[in-house]
Structures are given as structure tokens and as C-alpha cells.
């Protein structure tokens, strides 16, 4: 399907020039409703408001992640409550807890199994930097192995902090700042230089 056709299906009435806007869509003053956007923007808006997290919970931070999902803090308010334990079904990897050298290949594999676009939140001091485990079996920050979008500090971060991290990720998706989006943009730029 061509992109224009897809747009037409998605937004049959509000995209100008695609179809005559009916009387019902007119404002009270008689003017027509217009909404113009770019296709990518539209997708990003959809993506950021329905994140499906994969909780890669290894340690204490995973307990606080549970608190965030439960009714008291309720991640659902931010459109991210569909927790999935299959990397194929999720687009947000939340690494909650210490990652050891033994676990690192597993983490990388799971990250690679996720379909694009994918985002990563590193929750807690351990995932961000190794925390206070400066030791022989602990990865000193998961960004040794996978790209990270949002670092949430704390040991463990309070639920509010993680919620803030999710909101920050949404903002970043909206403005095209995530690692994935920047990579895509860089690839496009490289391709256009090549042309």
C-alpha cells in the first residue's frame, strides 16, 4: 500500500485535499477543521502513548517496578501497562536491577529479539553504572552492551522517579530524541548524501 493510501484509510476526513470535508466536520463558525502532520510524527504520537514494557527485572529494582505497575502508582495512567514478558511483543525494555557478566549475553539477546522501534530505560543505579557493586561479576552500566534512552537514578528509584522516566521517554519519542530515532535519522542522512 502506498503511504498516501494508508493515510487516507487512517484519517478519512481530516486530511485536507484527500476528501471533501463534510458539513458535520465544520466548526460552528463554518470554517473547516484542518490537521496537518507528518507521517512519522503521527506514528510517534501513537507509539509514545502505548508503550509495551518488557520488564527485565533482575534484582531489588524489580520489586519497585512491581509497585509502579500495581494499583497504587498505576503505570496504566501513562499508557504503558501492557507488561509483556516476550521481547517480540514489547517495544520498551526496562532493565530493573543489577546485570552481571553472566546475565549480559541474555540481556543482549533479548534486546536484539525486540522488534523495532525499541526504547530502553535503565532503572536504578546498578543498571546505569553498576551502582555500588564495583566488583568482579557486575556489569558497570548496561550501556556497555546496549544503547540506553533514559537513565533513572536511585537505589532503587522511587516509583515516582520511574514514572518520570517513562514520561521523559514519551517526550523524547515525541521530539525524535531516542537512540532508535536518531539512528534512523542518521541512516537517512547518510543515504541522502550517497544519492
Amino acid at each position: 500500500m502506498k503511504r498516501e493510501d494508508a493515510t487516507r484509510q487512517l484519517l478519512p476526513t481530516v486530511v485536507p485535499g484527500v476528501r471533501e470535508v463534510g458539513a458535520a466536520e465544520r466548526q460552528p463558525d463554518g470554517s473547516q477543521i484542518f490537521l496537518t502532520t507528518r507521517w512519522e510524527k503521527l506514528l510517534d504520537a501513537a507509539r509514545k502513548n502505548s508503550l509495551w514494557p518488557f520488564p527485565f527485572g533482575t534484582a531489588c529494582c524489580a520489586i519497585e517496578f512491581m509497585s509502579v505497575v500495581m494499583s497504587h502508582y498505576d503505570l496504566a495512567r501513562f499508557g504503558a501497562e501492557v507488561v509483556r514478558f516476550s521481547p517480540r511483543q514489547s517495544d520498551l525494555l526496562i532493565v530493573a536491577g543489577t546485570v552481571t557478566d553472566k546475565m549480559a549475553p541474555v540481556l543482549v539477546r533479548i534486546y536484539e529479539q525486540m522488534a523495532e522501534p525499541k526504547y530502553v530505560i535503565s532503572m536504578g543505579a546498578c543498571a546505569c553504572t553498576g551502582g555500588f557493586y564495583r566488583a568482579y561479576h557486575v556489569v558497570q552500566g548496561i550501556d556497555e552492551f546496549i544503547p540506553v534512552d533514559v537513565y533513572v537514578p536511585g537505589c532503587p528509584p522511587t516509583p515516582e522517579a520511574l514514572l518520570r522516566g517513562v514520561v521523559r521517554l514519551q517526550e523524547m519519542i515525541g521530539s525524535g530524541e531516542t537512540q532508535y530515532q536518531r539512528n534512523v535519522a542518521a541512516q537517512k542522512a547518510a543515504a541522502s548524501v550517497g544519492e
Binding site: 531489588c60 512491581m66 546475565m103 561479576h137
Partner: protein, 564 residues
Amino acid sequence: MGTREQRLAAIRKSFPDEALVAEVPGGDLQTFRVDRKVLVDLARHLKDDPDLDFKLLLDVCGVDYPERAERFESVYHLSSLTHGHRIRLKVPMPADAPVVPSVYPVWRSADWFEREAFDLMGILFSGHPNLKRILCHPAFQGHALRKDYDPGQRWLLREGEQDEPVWARAVQEDEDHFETQVLNLGPSHPASHGTLRTVVRLDGEVITQAETEIGYLHRCFEKMAESHTWNQVIPYTDRLNYCSSMMNGVGYALAVEKLLGVEAPPRAQSIRIILSELSRVMDHIVDIGANLNDIGAMTPFLYMYEAREELYTVLEACCGSRLTMSYVRVGGVSHDVPADFGEGVRFILKRVPQLVADMERLITENRIFRQRTEGVGKLSSEDAIDWGWTGPCLRACGVPFDVRKSYPYMGYDQLDFKVPIAHGGDTFARYLVRVEEIKQSLRIVEQALEAMPPGPIIISDHNVALPAKEKVYTEMESLIWHFKLVMEGMKVPAGEVYGFTEAANGELGYYIVSDGSGKPYRIKVRPPCFAIFQAYPHMLKGHMIPDAVAILGSLNVIAGELDR
């Protein structure tokens, strides 16, 4: 409880030679130095002689003394549930031949403990059926807890180098096994509770063989402890069993206090009791909730989590942190409780039973739940003791062993509570015991709160505890104490101690060796779920995969404590 002399006499009956089995005078526990030649015979004798009856092997660990002629020492802690006595065995061995016979044939609980000592200390246990690394990954070089190992030295593990049981690679395709397959559960699996991995062989749907792999959360607690001062270790202890962090800190502080010969003031003790019991409630709540969640009952988890949030509120008011409290100090606690502490706790005492009752109404008589759990993961009391089980899981097998009753500490003997047991030994029994323990813990909290005395919350001995902040600002002497404690840490007299408390999962032991300096020489944690989890692959045989999930949840394996 026999005397030291009686136990010695019972041992001398069969081991008269002083050169082979010698008693080490003094110490917190009766200690014997054993020649490795007779270790297994002695072990048999200790287990089978009715006067000794050491059926429970609590812990095996290695200690490294580089300057001694016999560099390594393998240390065993034994307990008798019938007589209530305990001893420690020490087997020295030279650096060039760190070999000691395995006691696995006598006590099966030695299985993983010996593998751990091999992994971290490089002690070879001859005769062990499966002596390979357990916590560190297979590409790891060297033995991390040796004193000459640099704490920061990492080794990378690449994809494809992970360990796989030998039997899992073998193909089984004959007439009888045309439907067998090997299935890998974890380490990232919704029911794997963090980071556990189980490899099973299935015949149709039935598990015929299983092996577990742990160590995915090995955060080097014991090595870290050796490079921090005594009080700096407390935040690390919080992260052992992170579902009930308070109790780890209490156990550690009690052990160090035992070595120092001090005791925390009564108010601190009662704060510790109240918060420990609330932590136990929290731990059981998460365990029951997660277990039910895994077998398909989501709703109770939501009820249980509400209770947990209420508990968090009280804990946060005390120390500023919800989960990792770091509230205990050697000699007391860091702050006094807030003024509205009593109110908060009384609210919990009212609210939590309601939520538990709601959950019980939904679950205890629920037919699906009963069918999923009754008779599933059954273990006899003899097997449970043989595997080194303690805590609620052992009590669910009908053994009324609870450290709070058998070896009371912090004034638990002043409080009126019961030790619930069940006889099924199965997943359902473990659920029942935990639910009842929640109620008993709340009873303890109620009494301790009523009896909470006023007074100081930390001892005034400034070799151990920091002086009050106002005094540091105004008095020269206090400033000096403060400076010395912060810069050098407290000095704990040389010696060793095994401190043990009843944590949420069972007996949490700290074997601490001090050389008199400002830092621990060696800390070995005896994590309760380590012993419990080693029985898991053996319990799986004959069950199906969904049962494996139900059993795992009921054992309450916390990776932080398991792997340390």
C-alpha cells in the same frame, strides 16, 4: 542440650586420636579442627550417633589465610534439631593441594555449598558428583574470594559460552523416548522470579530430569564486604533478601554485636523486632501474591500489594527509604522512629488482616487453587532436613523449628506467638504456613509496640557508635570519636562468630571472621533459600511444567539472597 564435654565424649568414643580431631578451646560455638582424612567418617558419626544427631548441615564455606602454612580452611556449621546444639568443624588444607573429601554422601545439603566454595575459593571437594562453577560464569578465571584476587577484575562471557548440562546435549531418541525434549526455562522468564534458570527434559509433558543454574545475580557481596568498613556493609546486606531488607541488617548487626560483646539498647531492640516482623509480613505477602499470580490468580496480588504499600509508608517514615532501608547500625538503629510511628503501625495492624482475609476468602478454599497446589512439590521432613531446609518451607513439612523460639534473640522469648506448622510438605502447606505466619507476626508487632520502652536507640560506646551530631559540633572529644570512626571504622576484636536469625525464608546465618582491623576479614552468608532451592530440580521429577511454576513460587527464592 548437652554440654561441650558430653559432645566431646561422644565424639571421642570413635575418634580418640587428638591429632585427627582436636577441640579448639573457646569461641561462640564448640569448634573442632578435623584432619581431612577422617572428615567423612566423622561426618557419618556426627549424623548417626543418637547423642550427637547432627542431621542438619547448615553451611559449608572456605576461608583463605594466605600467611598460614595451611592456607585454606573449609568450615562446616552443623545443627541438631532434636538436641538443639550446634558445632563447627574446620578442616585446614595446604595451598598446593586444597583438596578435601566431599560430605555430599552424608548430607545432601552440601551439594551447592561445596560447589560455591569451589567456585569462589578454589577448594576441591573430591567425590562431589557435579563439581563445577555455580555462581560465576564459565568463562571466569581464578577464584574470586581468594585474598590475592583483585575485586575489580572482570571476565566477559560471550554468547554461546554459557553453561549447559551435559545430559541436555545428549539425544534421547529410542522407542520409549520418542517424545522427549529439552526445554530451557529462564533466566528471563515470567515465572523465573528474577534470574533463575532451569533446564528440564520432558517426556511428553512430564519432567524426567532437571537442573538449575544460578548465579545470574551474583553481585559479589562477600568480596565487597571485605573492602568496606563494618557499618558500610549494612547497605549491602539490605540487598540480600530485598523483599525484607530489614531482617538482613538485623541479623548482621546481631552477629557483629556478638563479636564485639555489646548489646543494643532495649528501645532499639524493640524497633528492630517491630520492623523485622513487618518485613516478614511484607515478604510473605509478595511471595504469596507472586505465587498466586504465577498460577493464574491475579486479583489476590493486587490486594496483597495494597498491604505492602501501607507497610512501605511506615518504613519510609522511619528511614526515608521504601525498600532498601539501611536502618540498622551495629549497636542500635540510625534514628529514632517518628512521632506518629505507633499510629502508623496500629493502622497496619487493623488494615493488613482485612486484606489477608479478603485474599483468604478468595483462595484458601478455591478449588482450582487447591488442585493446582495440593500434593504438588511434596517433600518429606527427612528429605527437607537433609537438603538443609529451614524456615516456613521446613515448617510446612511438619518440623517445628524456628530460630526465634529455639534460640531466642532480641527478646523474642518475652513475646507470645506460635510457630505454625503444616504436615503436607507440599505447595499448599507452604501457603498455609505463610498465611498463618503473617498473623503471628502481626501479633508480635502488637505486643512489641505496647511494650516499646523509651530511651536511647544506639549504644553510647563510641568505639562502636557515632556520637550525637550536636555533640560532635560542640565537644572536642566527640569530634575525635566521630573522626576516628568515620576514617578508620570501628575495630572489631579478632575472632569468629556465627550469628543466626530467623529471616523470612529461614535461618539466615552470618559467619564472620575478624582480624581486628576496621574491615571484616571474611563474611560468609548462609542464605536460607540457597539450601531450599538446591532441592528444587530434584522435586520436579514426575511433575509437569505448570507444577514447576507453582513449586518455584512457593519456595520464595529471592535471587539477591540466593546468589549474593
